[in-house]
Protein backbone atom coordinates (compact mmCIF):
# COMPACT_ATOMS: atom_id res chain seq x y z
CA UNK A 1 0.00 0.00 0.00
CA UNK A 2 2.67 2.46 1.14
CA UNK A 3 4.75 1.44 -1.86
CA UNK A 4 1.93 2.09 -4.32
CA UNK A 5 1.28 5.51 -2.80
CA UNK A 6 4.97 6.43 -3.15
CA UNK A 7 5.10 5.23 -6.75
CA UNK A 8 1.86 7.05 -7.57
CA UNK A 9 3.26 10.24 -6.09
CA UNK A 10 6.40 9.87 -8.15
CA UNK A 11 4.44 9.27 -11.32
CA UNK A 12 2.22 12.31 -10.75
CA UNK A 13 5.29 14.44 -10.05
CA UNK A 14 7.02 13.15 -13.22
CA UNK A 15 3.93 13.88 -15.27
CA UNK A 16 3.70 17.40 -13.82
CA UNK A 17 7.38 18.05 -14.62
CA UNK A 18 6.97 16.77 -18.18
CA UNK A 19 3.83 18.88 -18.69
CA UNK A 20 5.52 22.00 -17.30
CA UNK A 21 8.57 21.45 -19.49
CA UNK A 22 6.56 20.81 -22.64
CA UNK A 23 4.32 23.78 -21.84
CA UNK A 24 7.22 26.20 -21.56
CA UNK A 25 8.84 25.11 -24.82
CA UNK A 26 5.51 25.11 -26.62
CA UNK A 27 4.55 28.57 -25.35
CA UNK A 28 7.89 30.13 -26.30
CA UNK A 29 7.76 28.45 -29.76
CA UNK A 30 4.27 29.82 -30.45
CA UNK A 31 4.57 33.26 -28.88
CA UNK A 32 8.31 34.10 -29.16
CA UNK A 33 9.76 36.29 -31.94
CA UNK A 34 11.96 34.46 -34.48
CA UNK A 35 14.91 36.49 -35.78
CA UNK A 36 17.67 34.16 -37.00
CA UNK A 37 21.35 35.16 -37.18
CA UNK A 38 24.72 33.34 -37.26
CA UNK A 39 25.37 33.65 -33.50
CA UNK A 40 22.16 31.81 -32.74
CA UNK A 41 23.35 28.83 -34.77
CA UNK A 42 26.37 28.28 -32.50
CA UNK A 43 26.20 25.42 -29.96
CA UNK A 44 26.49 27.88 -27.05
CA UNK A 45 25.49 31.46 -27.16
CA UNK A 46 26.39 32.63 -23.71
CA UNK A 47 29.40 34.67 -24.76
CA UNK A 48 31.98 31.89 -24.52
CA UNK A 49 33.88 31.00 -27.67
CA UNK A 50 33.03 27.51 -28.91
CA UNK A 51 36.51 26.97 -30.46
CA UNK A 52 39.82 27.77 -28.76
CA UNK A 53 42.88 26.36 -26.93
CA UNK A 54 42.03 23.58 -24.48
CA UNK A 55 44.86 24.38 -22.06
CA UNK A 56 43.43 27.38 -20.31
CA UNK A 57 45.48 29.03 -17.58
CA UNK A 58 43.87 29.94 -14.30
CA UNK A 59 45.09 31.80 -11.28
CA UNK A 60 47.26 30.02 -8.70
CA UNK A 61 45.12 31.57 -5.95
CA UNK A 62 42.41 29.05 -6.78
CA UNK A 63 44.44 26.46 -4.90
CA UNK A 64 43.37 28.05 -1.60
CA UNK A 65 39.76 27.90 -2.75
CA UNK A 66 40.26 24.24 -3.62
CA UNK A 67 41.76 23.47 -0.20
CA UNK A 68 38.92 25.29 1.55
CA UNK A 69 36.42 23.41 -0.53
CA UNK A 70 38.04 20.09 0.40
CA UNK A 71 37.95 20.89 4.12
CA UNK A 72 34.31 21.86 4.19
CA UNK A 73 33.35 19.11 1.79
CA UNK A 74 34.84 16.54 4.17
CA UNK A 75 33.04 18.25 7.02
CA UNK A 76 29.70 17.74 5.28
CA UNK A 77 30.62 14.16 4.40
CA UNK A 78 31.07 13.52 8.13
CA UNK A 79 28.11 15.59 9.28
CA UNK A 80 25.46 13.95 7.17
CA UNK A 81 25.84 10.33 8.37
CA UNK A 82 26.50 11.67 11.87
CA UNK A 83 23.10 13.34 11.98
CA UNK A 84 21.29 10.26 10.76
CA UNK A 85 22.61 8.08 13.62
CA UNK A 86 22.89 10.73 16.34
CA UNK A 87 19.54 10.05 18.03
CA UNK A 88 19.45 6.25 18.02
CA UNK A 89 23.13 5.45 18.64
CA UNK A 90 25.60 8.19 19.50
CA UNK A 91 23.78 10.32 22.04
CA UNK A 92 25.45 13.07 24.03
CA UNK A 93 28.93 11.54 23.73
CA UNK A 94 28.64 11.65 19.96
CA UNK A 95 27.58 15.26 20.12
CA UNK A 96 30.68 16.14 22.14
CA UNK A 97 32.97 14.28 19.76
CA UNK A 98 31.46 16.03 16.76
CA UNK A 99 31.76 19.31 18.64
CA UNK A 100 35.48 18.67 19.09
CA UNK A 101 35.84 17.85 15.38
CA UNK A 102 33.99 21.00 14.37
CA UNK A 103 36.00 23.08 16.86
CA UNK A 104 39.20 22.02 15.11
CA UNK A 105 37.69 23.07 11.79
CA UNK A 106 36.53 26.39 13.24
CA UNK A 107 40.08 27.04 14.45
CA UNK A 108 41.29 26.35 10.94
CA UNK A 109 38.68 28.68 9.47
CA UNK A 110 39.61 31.42 11.94
CA UNK A 111 43.26 31.04 11.00
CA UNK A 112 42.48 31.14 7.32
CA UNK A 113 40.29 34.22 7.71
CA UNK A 114 42.77 36.08 9.87
CA UNK A 115 45.66 35.37 7.51
CA UNK A 116 43.68 36.85 4.62
CA UNK A 117 43.00 33.62 2.79
CA UNK A 118 39.50 34.85 1.93
CA UNK A 119 40.75 38.02 0.26
CA UNK A 120 41.53 37.94 -3.40
CA UNK A 121 44.14 40.72 -3.48
Amino acid sequence: MAFTVTVMGLLIFAAAVAANFAGMILTSTILGPKRRNSVKDQPFECGSLPVGPTHTRFHIRFYLTAILFLIFDIEVVFLYPFITILRPELGVTGLWIMGAFLAVLVFGLAYEWRRGGMEWD
Binding site: T93, I97, A103, V104, F107, A110, Y111, R114
Partner: protein, 488 residues
Protein backbone atom coordinates in the same frame (compact mmCIF):
# COMPACT_ATOMS: atom_id res chain seq x y z
CA UNK B 1 36.06 1.48 22.68
CA UNK B 2 38.10 3.57 25.05
CA UNK B 3 38.10 7.18 23.92
CA UNK B 4 40.32 8.34 26.78
CA UNK B 5 43.15 6.07 25.65
CA UNK B 6 44.94 8.56 23.32
CA UNK B 7 45.20 11.13 26.13
CA UNK B 8 48.80 12.16 25.27
CA UNK B 9 47.74 12.77 21.65
CA UNK B 10 44.82 14.90 22.79
CA UNK B 11 47.27 16.86 24.91
CA UNK B 12 49.54 17.61 21.96
CA UNK B 13 46.58 18.45 19.71
CA UNK B 14 45.27 20.81 22.40
CA UNK B 15 48.71 22.40 22.56
CA UNK B 16 48.58 22.89 18.78
CA UNK B 17 45.23 24.70 19.10
CA UNK B 18 46.61 26.89 21.90
CA UNK B 19 49.56 27.82 19.67
CA UNK B 20 47.21 28.60 16.79
CA UNK B 21 44.95 30.71 18.98
CA UNK B 22 47.89 32.64 20.45
CA UNK B 23 49.17 33.36 16.96
CA UNK B 24 45.76 34.63 15.89
CA UNK B 25 44.98 36.77 18.93
CA UNK B 26 48.35 38.39 19.64
CA UNK B 27 49.03 41.38 17.35
CA UNK B 28 51.46 40.94 14.46
CA UNK B 29 54.17 43.22 15.82
CA UNK B 30 54.60 41.22 19.05
CA UNK B 31 57.33 38.57 18.81
CA UNK B 32 56.23 34.95 18.80
CA UNK B 33 59.23 33.94 20.87
CA UNK B 34 57.01 33.14 23.87
CA UNK B 35 55.43 30.36 21.84
CA UNK B 36 58.68 28.40 22.13
CA UNK B 37 58.27 28.40 25.90
CA UNK B 38 54.56 27.55 25.60
CA UNK B 39 55.44 24.56 23.41
CA UNK B 40 58.29 23.45 25.66
CA UNK B 41 56.05 23.61 28.74
CA UNK B 42 53.22 21.81 26.96
CA UNK B 43 55.51 19.06 25.75
CA UNK B 44 57.00 18.79 29.26
CA UNK B 45 53.47 18.25 30.60
CA UNK B 46 52.74 15.52 28.04
CA UNK B 47 56.14 13.98 28.78
CA UNK B 48 55.29 13.83 32.49
CA UNK B 49 51.97 12.17 31.60
CA UNK B 50 53.77 9.59 29.43
CA UNK B 51 56.39 8.85 32.07
CA UNK B 52 53.72 8.38 34.73
CA UNK B 53 51.61 5.97 32.69
CA UNK B 54 52.42 2.28 32.93
CA UNK B 55 52.83 0.06 29.91
CA UNK B 56 50.17 -2.68 29.74
CA UNK B 57 51.60 -5.94 31.10
CA UNK B 58 48.93 -8.43 29.99
CA UNK B 59 48.39 -9.90 26.56
CA UNK B 60 45.43 -8.09 24.93
CA UNK B 61 46.80 -4.55 24.69
CA UNK B 62 44.25 -1.74 24.91
CA UNK B 63 43.12 -0.39 21.56
CA UNK B 64 40.82 2.40 20.41
CA UNK B 65 38.97 3.34 17.22
CA UNK B 66 38.30 -0.26 16.22
CA UNK B 67 41.89 -1.42 16.61
CA UNK B 68 43.31 1.42 14.52
CA UNK B 69 45.02 2.90 17.55
CA UNK B 70 47.17 0.65 19.74
CA UNK B 71 48.41 1.74 23.17
CA UNK B 72 51.06 -0.87 23.86
CA UNK B 73 54.40 -0.48 25.62
CA UNK B 74 56.27 -0.05 22.33
CA UNK B 75 54.10 2.96 21.43
CA UNK B 76 54.44 4.39 24.94
CA UNK B 77 58.23 4.13 24.95
CA UNK B 78 58.67 5.64 21.48
CA UNK B 79 56.17 8.41 22.24
CA UNK B 80 58.21 9.34 25.30
CA UNK B 81 61.29 9.74 23.10
CA UNK B 82 59.41 11.74 20.46
CA UNK B 83 57.84 14.15 22.94
CA UNK B 84 61.19 14.63 24.71
CA UNK B 85 62.77 15.45 21.34
CA UNK B 86 59.94 17.88 20.55
CA UNK B 87 60.46 19.63 23.87
CA UNK B 88 64.17 20.01 23.22
CA UNK B 89 63.51 21.19 19.65
CA UNK B 90 61.14 23.94 20.88
CA UNK B 91 63.75 25.14 23.35
CA UNK B 92 66.43 25.11 20.66
CA UNK B 93 64.19 27.04 18.24
CA UNK B 94 63.46 30.05 20.49
CA UNK B 95 66.50 32.17 19.79
CA UNK B 96 67.34 30.60 16.44
CA UNK B 97 64.12 31.86 14.83
CA UNK B 98 64.32 35.19 16.62
CA UNK B 99 67.89 35.81 15.44
CA UNK B 100 66.91 35.11 11.83
CA UNK B 101 63.72 37.13 12.01
CA UNK B 102 61.69 34.25 10.62
CA UNK B 103 58.32 35.63 9.61
CA UNK B 104 56.17 32.55 10.19
CA UNK B 105 57.11 31.77 13.79
CA UNK B 106 53.53 31.02 14.85
CA UNK B 107 53.19 28.56 11.98
CA UNK B 108 56.59 27.09 12.83
CA UNK B 109 55.53 26.12 16.35
CA UNK B 110 52.13 25.00 15.10
CA UNK B 111 53.76 22.68 12.56
CA UNK B 112 56.19 21.44 15.21
CA UNK B 113 53.31 20.40 17.48
CA UNK B 114 51.30 18.89 14.62
CA UNK B 115 54.32 16.90 13.40
CA UNK B 116 54.77 15.61 16.95
CA UNK B 117 51.09 14.68 17.05
CA UNK B 118 51.46 12.82 13.75
CA UNK B 119 54.57 10.98 14.93
CA UNK B 120 52.73 9.90 18.09
CA UNK B 121 49.82 8.57 16.02
CA UNK B 122 52.36 6.89 13.76
CA UNK B 123 53.97 4.80 16.49
CA UNK B 124 50.50 3.92 17.83
CA UNK B 125 49.15 2.82 14.44
CA UNK B 126 47.38 -0.54 14.56
CA UNK B 127 46.46 -0.44 10.92
CA UNK B 128 48.34 0.15 7.68
CA UNK B 129 45.98 2.98 6.73
CA UNK B 130 46.35 4.85 10.03
CA UNK B 131 50.04 4.35 9.58
CA UNK B 132 49.99 5.83 6.10
CA UNK B 133 47.84 8.83 7.05
CA UNK B 134 50.01 9.60 10.08
CA UNK B 135 53.14 9.21 7.97
CA UNK B 136 51.83 11.68 5.39
CA UNK B 137 50.77 14.15 8.08
CA UNK B 138 54.22 14.22 9.64
CA UNK B 139 55.98 14.29 6.27
CA UNK B 140 53.95 17.27 5.02
CA UNK B 141 54.68 19.11 8.25
CA UNK B 142 58.37 18.38 7.88
CA UNK B 143 58.44 19.56 4.24
CA UNK B 144 57.21 22.96 5.40
CA UNK B 145 59.46 23.06 8.47
CA UNK B 146 62.55 22.33 6.37
CA UNK B 147 61.69 25.25 4.07
CA UNK B 148 60.74 27.67 6.85
CA UNK B 149 63.76 29.89 6.11
CA UNK B 150 62.17 30.68 2.74
CA UNK B 151 63.11 34.19 1.70
CA UNK B 152 66.23 34.13 3.87
CA UNK B 153 68.00 31.06 2.59
CA UNK B 154 67.68 29.69 -0.91
CA UNK B 155 69.11 26.33 0.12
CA UNK B 156 66.35 25.92 2.70
CA UNK B 157 63.68 26.23 -0.01
CA UNK B 158 65.67 23.92 -2.27
CA UNK B 159 65.95 21.32 0.48
CA UNK B 160 62.23 21.58 1.17
CA UNK B 161 61.42 20.99 -2.49
CA UNK B 162 63.81 18.04 -2.78
CA UNK B 163 62.40 16.51 0.35
CA UNK B 164 58.84 17.00 -0.93
CA UNK B 165 59.49 15.31 -4.26
CA UNK B 166 61.51 12.40 -2.90
CA UNK B 167 59.15 12.02 0.04
CA UNK B 168 56.17 11.80 -2.31
CA UNK B 169 57.99 9.11 -4.28
CA UNK B 170 58.67 7.07 -1.15
CA UNK B 171 55.06 7.44 0.00
CA UNK B 172 53.93 6.12 -3.37
CA UNK B 173 56.24 3.11 -3.04
CA UNK B 174 54.94 2.39 0.45
CA UNK B 175 51.33 2.79 -0.62
CA UNK B 176 51.82 0.42 -3.53
CA UNK B 177 53.37 -2.12 -1.18
CA UNK B 178 50.44 -1.71 1.22
CA UNK B 179 47.94 -2.24 -1.62
CA UNK B 180 49.73 -5.44 -2.65
CA UNK B 181 49.75 -6.67 0.94
CA UNK B 182 46.05 -5.93 1.18
CA UNK B 183 45.43 -7.77 -2.06
CA UNK B 184 47.28 -10.82 -0.76
CA UNK B 185 45.96 -10.92 2.78
CA UNK B 186 42.58 -9.17 2.57
CA UNK B 187 43.29 -7.05 5.63
CA UNK B 188 45.07 -3.83 6.51
CA UNK B 189 45.04 -4.37 10.27
CA UNK B 190 48.49 -5.21 11.62
CA UNK B 191 47.05 -7.84 13.98
CA UNK B 192 45.18 -9.38 11.04
CA UNK B 193 48.36 -9.37 8.96
CA UNK B 194 50.24 -11.15 11.74
CA UNK B 195 47.58 -13.86 11.86
CA UNK B 196 47.69 -14.18 8.08
CA UNK B 197 51.51 -14.22 7.89
CA UNK B 198 51.64 -17.18 10.28
CA UNK B 199 50.14 -19.52 7.69
CA UNK B 200 50.45 -17.87 4.28
CA UNK B 201 52.55 -19.25 1.46
CA UNK B 202 55.33 -17.21 -0.11
CA UNK B 203 54.69 -15.85 -3.55
CA UNK B 204 56.49 -13.49 -5.96
CA UNK B 205 53.85 -10.84 -5.24
CA UNK B 206 54.68 -11.11 -1.55
CA UNK B 207 58.36 -10.47 -2.23
CA UNK B 208 57.46 -7.39 -4.31
CA UNK B 209 55.10 -6.14 -1.60
CA UNK B 210 57.70 -6.61 1.14
CA UNK B 211 60.38 -4.94 -0.97
CA UNK B 212 58.14 -1.91 -1.63
CA UNK B 213 57.10 -1.58 2.02
CA UNK B 214 60.72 -1.98 3.17
CA UNK B 215 61.84 0.63 0.61
CA UNK B 216 59.18 3.12 1.75
CA UNK B 217 60.11 2.68 5.40
CA UNK B 218 63.86 2.69 4.63
CA UNK B 219 63.32 6.05 2.95
CA UNK B 220 61.83 7.54 6.09
CA UNK B 221 64.65 6.03 8.11
CA UNK B 222 67.21 7.12 5.48
CA UNK B 223 68.92 3.79 4.87
CA UNK B 224 71.25 3.68 1.83
CA UNK B 225 70.31 3.81 -1.10
CA UNK B 226 67.18 5.68 0.06
CA UNK B 227 69.23 8.25 1.95
CA UNK B 228 69.91 10.68 -0.88
CA UNK B 229 67.61 13.35 0.52
CA UNK B 230 69.21 13.31 3.96
CA UNK B 231 72.50 15.21 3.44
CA UNK B 232 70.88 18.08 1.51
CA UNK B 233 67.90 18.37 3.83
CA UNK B 234 69.92 18.10 7.04
CA UNK B 235 72.42 20.66 5.83
CA UNK B 236 69.99 23.30 4.63
CA UNK B 237 67.10 22.97 7.10
CA UNK B 238 67.06 25.21 10.18
CA UNK B 239 69.28 23.44 12.71
CA UNK B 240 66.56 22.80 15.34
CA UNK B 241 64.44 21.22 12.59
CA UNK B 242 67.41 19.11 11.48
CA UNK B 243 67.89 17.91 15.04
CA UNK B 244 64.19 17.11 15.45
CA UNK B 245 63.93 15.43 12.06
CA UNK B 246 67.03 13.35 12.63
CA UNK B 247 65.97 12.07 16.04
CA UNK B 248 62.16 12.04 16.15
CA UNK B 249 61.61 11.18 12.50
CA UNK B 250 64.14 8.39 12.72
CA UNK B 251 62.91 6.86 15.98
CA UNK B 252 59.34 6.88 14.65
CA UNK B 253 60.55 5.16 11.47
CA UNK B 254 62.31 2.59 13.65
CA UNK B 255 59.06 1.97 15.54
CA UNK B 256 57.36 1.45 12.17
CA UNK B 257 59.97 -1.05 11.04
CA UNK B 258 59.47 -2.94 14.30
CA UNK B 259 55.69 -2.84 14.03
CA UNK B 260 55.36 -3.69 10.37
CA UNK B 261 58.26 -6.08 9.80
CA UNK B 262 58.87 -7.72 13.19
CA UNK B 263 55.38 -7.71 14.67
CA UNK B 264 53.00 -7.94 11.71
CA UNK B 265 55.12 -9.70 9.09
CA UNK B 266 57.35 -11.64 11.48
CA UNK B 267 56.18 -14.83 9.75
CA UNK B 268 58.11 -13.76 6.65
CA UNK B 269 61.34 -12.89 8.42
CA UNK B 270 63.15 -15.24 6.04
CA UNK B 271 62.06 -13.01 3.12
CA UNK B 272 62.50 -9.49 4.43
CA UNK B 273 65.58 -9.96 6.56
CA UNK B 274 67.71 -10.37 3.43
CA UNK B 275 66.27 -7.21 1.91
CA UNK B 276 66.87 -5.31 5.11
CA UNK B 277 70.39 -6.66 5.57
CA UNK B 278 71.41 -5.58 2.07
CA UNK B 279 70.16 -2.07 2.84
CA UNK B 280 71.98 -2.06 6.16
CA UNK B 281 75.28 -3.28 4.74
CA UNK B 282 75.09 -0.57 2.08
CA UNK B 283 74.29 1.96 4.81
CA UNK B 284 77.27 1.04 6.98
CA UNK B 285 79.73 1.26 4.11
CA UNK B 286 78.35 4.23 2.17
CA UNK B 287 77.37 6.51 5.04
CA UNK B 288 80.58 6.05 7.01
CA UNK B 289 82.82 6.47 3.97
CA UNK B 290 80.74 9.41 2.70
CA UNK B 291 81.11 11.26 5.99
CA UNK B 292 84.90 11.20 5.73
CA UNK B 293 84.96 13.77 2.92
CA UNK B 294 82.51 16.31 4.34
CA UNK B 295 83.52 19.94 4.96
CA UNK B 296 80.20 21.18 6.34
CA UNK B 297 79.55 20.24 9.96
CA UNK B 298 75.80 19.62 9.53
CA UNK B 299 76.40 17.59 6.37
CA UNK B 300 78.89 15.45 8.25
CA UNK B 301 76.34 14.92 11.00
CA UNK B 302 73.79 14.00 8.31
CA UNK B 303 75.97 11.18 7.06
CA UNK B 304 76.55 10.20 10.68
CA UNK B 305 72.77 10.05 11.20
CA UNK B 306 72.37 7.83 8.16
CA UNK B 307 74.98 5.48 9.62
CA UNK B 308 73.26 5.54 13.01
CA UNK B 309 69.98 4.53 11.34
CA UNK B 310 71.82 1.46 10.06
CA UNK B 311 72.92 0.52 13.59
CA UNK B 312 69.37 0.99 14.89
CA UNK B 313 68.07 -1.39 12.22
CA UNK B 314 70.24 -4.22 13.59
CA UNK B 315 67.68 -4.61 16.36
CA UNK B 316 64.91 -5.01 13.76
CA UNK B 317 66.90 -7.45 11.62
CA UNK B 318 67.61 -9.58 14.70
CA UNK B 319 63.85 -9.80 15.23
CA UNK B 320 64.28 -10.90 18.84
CA UNK B 321 63.03 -9.35 22.08
CA UNK B 322 66.62 -8.60 23.01
CA UNK B 323 67.22 -6.86 19.69
CA UNK B 324 64.13 -4.72 20.17
CA UNK B 325 65.20 -3.68 23.66
CA UNK B 326 68.66 -2.83 22.39
CA UNK B 327 67.27 -0.78 19.51
CA UNK B 328 65.02 1.16 21.87
CA UNK B 329 67.90 1.84 24.25
CA UNK B 330 70.10 2.98 21.39
CA UNK B 331 67.32 5.19 20.04
CA UNK B 332 67.05 6.82 23.47
CA UNK B 333 70.80 7.47 23.62
CA UNK B 334 70.76 8.67 20.01
CA UNK B 335 67.98 11.22 20.65
CA UNK B 336 69.89 13.05 23.39
CA UNK B 337 73.31 12.67 21.80
CA UNK B 338 72.30 13.97 18.40
CA UNK B 339 70.26 16.86 19.80
CA UNK B 340 73.28 17.88 21.91
CA UNK B 341 75.60 17.76 18.90
CA UNK B 342 73.26 19.78 16.69
CA UNK B 343 72.64 22.31 19.46
CA UNK B 344 76.37 22.99 19.83
CA UNK B 345 76.83 23.22 16.06
CA UNK B 346 73.87 25.63 15.88
CA UNK B 347 75.41 27.92 18.50
CA UNK B 348 78.86 27.81 16.93
CA UNK B 349 77.49 28.45 13.43
CA UNK B 350 76.02 31.77 14.64
CA UNK B 351 79.54 33.16 14.91
CA UNK B 352 81.88 30.73 13.14
CA UNK B 353 79.83 29.66 10.11
CA UNK B 354 78.67 26.22 8.99
CA UNK B 355 82.10 24.89 7.99
CA UNK B 356 84.04 22.47 10.16
CA UNK B 357 86.77 25.09 10.43
CA UNK B 358 84.31 27.27 12.37
CA UNK B 359 84.89 24.93 15.30
CA UNK B 360 88.56 25.87 15.53
CA UNK B 361 89.63 27.13 18.90
CA UNK B 362 86.31 26.24 20.50
CA UNK B 363 88.16 24.30 23.19
CA UNK B 364 89.67 27.58 24.40
CA UNK B 365 86.77 29.93 23.61
CA UNK B 366 83.94 27.90 25.16
CA UNK B 367 85.34 24.86 26.99
CA UNK B 368 81.88 23.77 28.16
CA UNK B 369 80.40 23.65 24.64
CA UNK B 370 83.48 21.91 23.29
CA UNK B 371 83.28 19.31 26.04
CA UNK B 372 79.60 18.58 25.34
CA UNK B 373 80.18 18.26 21.59
CA UNK B 374 83.17 16.00 22.20
CA UNK B 375 81.11 13.83 24.57
CA UNK B 376 78.26 13.68 22.04
CA UNK B 377 80.38 12.62 19.07
CA UNK B 378 82.37 10.14 21.15
CA UNK B 379 79.06 8.69 22.34
CA UNK B 380 77.93 8.42 18.70
CA UNK B 381 81.19 6.66 17.91
CA UNK B 382 80.59 4.25 20.81
CA UNK B 383 83.35 5.17 23.21
CA UNK B 384 82.83 4.49 26.96
CA UNK B 385 81.81 5.90 29.40
CA UNK B 386 79.10 7.53 27.26
CA UNK B 387 75.68 6.05 26.49
CA UNK B 388 76.54 5.26 22.88
CA UNK B 389 78.99 2.59 24.01
CA UNK B 390 76.34 0.60 25.85
CA UNK B 391 73.83 1.20 23.08
CA UNK B 392 76.12 -0.24 20.43
CA UNK B 393 77.24 -3.00 22.76
CA UNK B 394 73.67 -4.15 23.40
CA UNK B 395 72.78 -3.92 19.71
CA UNK B 396 75.80 -5.88 18.53
CA UNK B 397 75.34 -8.42 21.33
CA UNK B 398 71.69 -8.92 20.38
CA UNK B 399 72.69 -9.39 16.74
CA UNK B 400 75.45 -11.88 17.55
CA UNK B 401 73.22 -13.82 19.93
CA UNK B 402 70.42 -14.08 17.37
CA UNK B 403 72.97 -15.02 14.70
CA UNK B 404 74.34 -17.88 16.80
CA UNK B 405 71.09 -19.10 18.37
CA UNK B 406 69.07 -19.04 15.14
CA UNK B 407 72.03 -19.99 12.97
CA UNK B 408 71.74 -16.86 10.81
CA UNK B 409 75.33 -16.50 9.69
CA UNK B 410 74.53 -13.49 7.47
CA UNK B 411 73.46 -11.57 10.54
CA UNK B 412 76.78 -12.39 12.17
CA UNK B 413 78.64 -11.11 9.12
CA UNK B 414 76.52 -7.95 9.14
CA UNK B 415 77.32 -7.24 12.78
CA UNK B 416 81.00 -7.78 11.97
CA UNK B 417 80.72 -5.20 9.20
CA UNK B 418 78.97 -2.81 11.60
CA UNK B 419 81.83 -3.12 14.09
CA UNK B 420 84.44 -2.45 11.41
CA UNK B 421 82.57 0.55 10.01
CA UNK B 422 82.03 1.83 13.54
CA UNK B 423 85.82 2.06 13.82
CA UNK B 424 85.92 3.95 10.51
CA UNK B 425 83.32 6.36 11.89
CA UNK B 426 85.64 7.18 14.78
CA UNK B 427 87.87 8.95 12.24
CA UNK B 428 85.34 11.57 11.21
CA UNK B 429 83.99 12.01 14.73
CA UNK B 430 87.54 12.69 15.85
CA UNK B 431 87.93 15.28 13.05
CA UNK B 432 85.33 17.34 14.94
CA UNK B 433 87.26 16.91 18.19
CA UNK B 434 90.53 17.75 16.45
CA UNK B 435 89.08 20.96 15.01
CA UNK B 436 87.98 22.07 18.46
CA UNK B 437 91.09 21.26 20.46
CA UNK B 438 94.13 20.89 18.20
CA UNK B 439 93.77 22.98 15.03
CA UNK B 440 95.00 26.53 15.67
CA UNK B 441 92.30 29.17 15.43
CA UNK B 442 92.67 31.59 12.53
CA UNK B 443 92.96 35.04 14.17
CA UNK B 444 91.56 36.70 11.02
CA UNK B 445 88.39 34.56 10.89
CA UNK B 446 85.15 36.24 12.04
CA UNK B 447 83.83 35.48 15.49
CA UNK B 448 86.91 33.73 16.82
CA UNK B 449 87.27 36.09 19.76
CA UNK B 450 85.28 35.61 22.93
CA UNK B 451 83.16 32.73 24.17
CA UNK B 452 80.08 31.65 22.17
CA UNK B 453 76.86 33.14 23.53
CA UNK B 454 74.57 30.46 24.97
CA UNK B 455 70.96 31.64 25.54
CA UNK B 456 68.77 30.11 28.25
CA UNK B 457 66.84 27.76 25.93
CA UNK B 458 70.04 26.28 24.56
CA UNK B 459 71.43 26.02 28.09
CA UNK B 460 68.45 23.88 29.12
CA UNK B 461 68.78 21.67 26.02
CA UNK B 462 72.50 21.14 26.59
CA UNK B 463 72.01 20.48 30.30
CA UNK B 464 69.34 17.82 29.74
CA UNK B 465 71.29 16.17 26.91
CA UNK B 466 74.63 16.15 28.73
CA UNK B 467 72.98 14.64 31.81
CA UNK B 468 71.32 11.94 29.69
CA UNK B 469 74.53 11.11 27.77
CA UNK B 470 76.31 10.54 31.07
CA UNK B 471 73.38 8.80 32.78
CA UNK B 472 72.88 6.31 29.93
CA UNK B 473 76.61 5.60 29.99
CA UNK B 474 77.34 5.41 33.70
CA UNK B 475 74.17 3.99 35.25
CA UNK B 476 71.91 2.58 32.52
CA UNK B 477 70.12 -0.04 34.64
CA UNK B 478 67.04 2.07 35.60
CA UNK B 479 66.60 2.98 31.92
CA UNK B 480 66.99 -0.63 30.87
CA UNK B 481 64.45 -1.66 33.50
CA UNK B 482 62.02 0.95 32.10
CA UNK B 483 62.56 -0.41 28.58
CA UNK B 484 62.09 -4.03 29.66
CA UNK B 485 58.90 -3.10 31.49
CA UNK B 486 57.62 -1.28 28.41
CA UNK B 487 58.37 -4.13 26.02
CA UNK B 488 57.45 -6.91 28.47
Amino acid sequence: MNLALPLPEYGVLGLALVVLLYDLVVPERVSRRALGWVCALGFAGVLALLLRSDAPQVAPVPTAFGGMYVADGLALAFKTLIVAAAMLASLASLDYLEARGVRWQGEYYLLLTLVTFALMCLVSAGDLLTLYVALELNSIGFYALVAVLKGRSLTSSEAGLKYLILGALSSALLLYGISLLYGLSGTVSLAGLAAWAAGAARSPALVVALALVAAGLAFKMSLVPFHMWAPDVYQAAPTPVTAFLSVAGKTAALALLVRVLDAALGGFIGVWDKLLMVLMAATFVWANLGALKQRDAKRLMAYSSVAQAGYLAIGVAAGSALGLQAALFYALVYVFTNVAAFQVLQLVAESGGPELSGLRGLGRRSPGLALILAAAVLSLAGIPPFGGFFGKFYLFAAGVREGIVAGRSWLLALVGLAVVMSIVSLFYYLILVKQMYIEPADPEAPGTGGPVAVPLGARLVLGVCAAMILWTGLYPSPILAWIRQALF
